[in-house]
């Protein structure tokens, strides 16, 4: 029992988790009479009532299209929509709100960059795009398009066994032919936090631009695009307490000017004639069609919520929960975790496998206990191939998770081991 004492839970967590939990209506529900233990925030986060109410409020009180309605409702909706853009800009420390375009997702944002800057931009046949093995499919496939339609050459930085990028290989692969470096700030499988500031710096030295996938980072740690010196950065609202269907594309002003729009239509034009049109200004040229107004407003409120907690505190809380989880995992026989062991180098995403039990069976059995985890290839098949894994189970933590949730997970894993013993 002495060991158990060493693992005693801290008396007080860095965030007031019970107060946070009270803001999330879904956490009051049960699953088959069990308490809901939600450990799949890397897939999508739950939503606080403030965000739910803000979207409902838009539809109930001032629903009108933005940027064109010449009446009070339209002015209110435009003000709130543009206000959300300001909040997002502040959240990632962009120089100006005009560097923020709303999209539907990280995926759309990266596609805009790949299409508008890569495929339709200055890239020439033979120019190189340097990615990494640990990218999500959404930071792989858009670049395949650029290879297939423009003759760009794709190269990849490998991942070391400890889950970190092989930075010396990055240096080798980075040449004057490299025009785009694209990297995730945080791996959705390994939790690895990549040294993006250093990656961007070295990319700039050879004249390449650096594209950053921040889908797993923006919800969980402070982001400063100016300090990172990221040229483009993409993330989604739904993983950071916001609604689904709203994403963010950040780009340095001069690069957004050079980037062609992906969607043609209303909103994104200055003038249209038969057979030709002139684009609207940045960022509106990327927002063809009526945007997800409620989604943007909801995201703005999610940003308010996170800002009020403080992103440093959010990060510190998740480090604490992750540390506790990794220590608990370490004591389980027949269970392997992946990614850096040092919580300073990783986020609250813990992929694991259990000897003799397939990840889908792990997820099914945990589901019986009301525990939601992810299983599969996590849209990162090249990374799974790198580690020779058909699939893993993945638990991911957020602000509403506490050490009790980790305990429930560990107890569930022991239950899985009993079933497959």
């Amino acid at each position: 029992m002495a060991r158990k004492d060493r693992m005693a839970k801290p008396a007080k967590m860095l965030l007031n988790v019970p107060a946070i939990q009270a803001d999330f209506p879904i956490l009051k529900r049960t699953v088959r009479d069990k308490r809901l233990v939600y450990l799949d925030s890397a897939a999508t986060s739950q939503k606080p009532k403030q965000v739910i109410e803000a979207t409902s409020d838009y539809y109930s009180r001032y629903n009108a299209n933005v940027h064109r309605a010449i009446y009070e409702l339209g002015e209110e909706s435009t003000r709130e929509y543009e206000g959300a853009r300001e909040k997002v800009a502040d959240f990632i420390h962009a120089k100006s709100a005009s560097e923020i375009a709303f999209t539907k997702s990280t995926t759309e944002s990266i596609n805009v960059i790949a299409y508008g800057y890569g495929l339709k931009g200055k890239l020439q046949k033979g120019d190189e795009i340097l990615g990494t093995v640990m990218e999500h499919h959404s930071n792989h496939v858009p670049w395949h398009f650029v290879k297939d339609h423009k003759g760009a050459v794709l190269k990849y930085v490998d991942v070391a066994d400890d889950g970190t990028l092989k930075m010396e290989q990055y240096d080798d692969l980075l040449t004057r032919h490299t025009k785009i470096v694209t990297v995730t700030l945080c791996s959705n499988v390994l939790g690895t936090i990549n040294p993006v500031k250093e990656i961007a710096k070295r990319a700039h030295e050879v004249g390449a631009v650096c594209v950053v996938d921040a889908a797993q980072a923006a919800p969980h740690m402070p982001i400063d695009v100016q300090s990172l010196d990221a040229d483009f950065l993409a993330f989604s609202g739904h993983k950071m307490l916001g609604p689904t269907g709203i994403g963010v594309l950040y780009g340095k002003a001069e690069l957004l000017e050079e980037t062609e729009p992906l969607l043609g239509g209303g909103e994104m034009i200055r003038e249209v004639h038969l057979g030709w049109a002139k684009w609207n200004d940045v960022p509106y040229k990327f927002e063809g069609g009526t945007p997800n107004i409620a989604g943007a407003i909801g995201l703005g409120v999610a940003v308010d919520y996170l800002t009020k907690l403080g992103m440093d505190a959010v990060r510190a809380h998740e480090m604490e929960v992750t540390q506790y989880a990794l220590e608990k995992f370490d004591r389980l026989k027949g269970v392997t975790t992946y990614g850096p062991k040092d919580v300073k180098k990783r986020a609250g995403v813990v992929s694991f496998t259990i000897e003799g039990a397939h990840p889908h069976d792990i997820a099914s059995i945990l589901d019986v206990e009301g525990i939601c985890i992810r299983s599969g290839h996590h849209c990162a098949q090249p990374l799974m191939e790198r580690f020779d894994l058909p699939a893993t189970a993945r638990a991911s933590f957020y602000i509403y998770n506490d050490l009790d949730d980790v305990d429930a997970l560990i107890a569930g894993i022991k239950r899985v081991q009993e079933v497959f013993a």
Partner: protein, 130 residues
């Protein structure tokens, strides 16, 4: 035991841990493979059909969850010795009855992967590799 643990009844775990007819089959006359893209489950079936259109021998290979692999193992025990006509006529109910467990819509795909591979093996395009 809670209701949903029924998915992991003894017979399922038995077939998962001790699969029947697992391995390669030299001299196989029909082979097929498919995967469940959602889970990454994989099932490969090898069939040896004799002169009287009977499945003289069968083996499966693959990897995946207990449901997909137990279902493949069970399927081999069903079709071994069966006429091609009867094997072609096998439907999902036959497999689900044999499994005898409650399945969610998602896990149904795991359970029926091996039957799908059998249909491909017996169908007009016997060699499918994705």
């Amino acid at each position: 035991m809670a209701v949903s643990y029924e998915m992991y009844q003894e017979q399922i775990l038995d077939h998962y841990k001790h699969p029947r007819n697992k391995g390669s089959l030299p001299g196989a006359t029909k082979n097929a493979r498919d995967t469940n893209p959602l889970c990454g489950d994989e099932v490969v079936l090898h069939l040896k059909v004799d002169g009287s259109d009977r499945i003289a021998d069968v083996r499966f290979e693959g990897q995946g969850c207990a449901i997909s692999q137990a279902s493949a193992s069970m399927l081999t025990t069903i079709v071994k010795g069966m006429s091609l006509g009867d094997a072609t006529a096998l439907d999902r109910d036959a497999i689900l009855k044999k499994l005898g467990i409650p399945l969610s819509a998602v896990r149904l795909k795991c359970a029926l992967l091996s039957l799908h591979v059998l249909k491909v093996a017996l169908g007009p395009k016997p060699d499918v590799s994705k």
